[in-house]
Amino acid sequence: MAYSRQAHYIRTAFAAFALPALFSVFFSLSSSSNSQPPPRIPSNVAWTPATIKEASQGDALRGLLIAKRCEHCHGSEAFSASPDIPNLAAMDRLSLWKQMMDFASRKRNSAIMSPIAAPLSHADIADLAAYYSLMPTSADPFDKRAFPRLPIPAAQSARAAQLIVLGDAQRGLPPCQSCHGPVGFKNGAPSLSVQNEDYLFNQLRDFSTGARSNDINMPMRTVAALLTEEDRHALAAYYGSGLGQLPAGTVLAK
């Protein structure tokens, strides 16, 4: 034998894997010449498997202790007394994680929430997300909460139900429920079924003007800009009235 069998295997393996790898690295480096403006990054969160794991492995009991400082505004039962402050009961974990991270990095700028979120560690935020995702949404007449706000006009409920269940193909508007549940889910899309009316309307308005711009790849900015003012009012009123908890497309009788 001119050379040992081990050496032969090593050389063959090198030829099989290392050489093509070297070639592809060379070609990918040689063909990257693209002049583009400085990137505008909507969020520092990216839904990589590691991030999803980190965000969904919180300790709900520890979250309960941290959430004591949230109670004043978001309510002791995770339902807010003010209609323009969001309810957090049964909020999707990934959604709450992303919003807190964006508040901390000021990708979603808020004079109130950014200083609160900034000192929290990743583990704290995951614990909070775990706690709020487990909070029940059952009715409690003794809790001071703004939700639900009834009644809403029947015509408004019909318009909103149409958009939530079917969307509007003429305008290219996807149905709300295809990402926000219960039919479909997208990572980071919050559950809306127990959300407050004024909060929802403010968010839709801010998305449509670009005042809030922390949605990854612009789904909400695109959708909110396609909605008319009446659509935004109708959708906020529909979810804010608690109809979103009933079977999809429930409409009030005229």
Binding site: M1, R5, H8, R11, T12, A15, A16, L19, P20, F23, S24, F27, S28, S31, S32, S33, N34, S35, Q36, P37, P39, R40, I41, P42, S43, N44, A46, W47, T48, L166, G167, D168, A169, G172, L173, P174, P175, Q177, S178, C179, V183, G184, K186, S208, T209, G210, I216, N217, M218, P219, R221, T222, V223, A224, A225, L226
Partner: protein
Amino acid sequence: MTYTSDPEPVSPKLHWWQTLLAVLILIAFALSTRYYELDAPILRVLGGNRWVDANTLHQQGEFVENNLGTAREADGSYTLRMIAQQYMFVPHCVRIPAGIPVRLRITSADNPHTLTATGLDLTVKAVPGHVTTTVLRVSEPGVFPMPCNEFCGTGHFTMISRMEVVPADQFQNLQPTDRVSCGVQ
């Protein structure tokens, strides 16, 4: 009954030219996958990266949100960049000049979609992690709905974007923001 000694074991040794042949074949595979694109002759001239990370499109690379839409490259050519995602194409509404070749680069942020322009001979697949590239030239101005042509989930049936083809001289005079999109930017 007698036992004979085992015969000499056959060594799986390769000749040097066999190893070389294997290496050449592997290199040929690597190069051929690198350059396999739609409209290969044009694209070789135009170049561009082929692989992206679908999870971090919004943070790095050419698909960050302010680089989407029709952009004029350094060499004067036009490139239209789009992202397909559940359940919309971003930008939702794009503008391109008429009569001028525009390179379309599209990728997906979640699962496979297909961009089809009604009335035009355009069907491109958008796959996560991969940039699909083609060159389109629309001779006449007009508005073309561009639905998704591949079932992508519950919102698939409303996943329709729009392409506005404007006269080339008019396109030159548009502000960069107007070339990008007719939605919010």
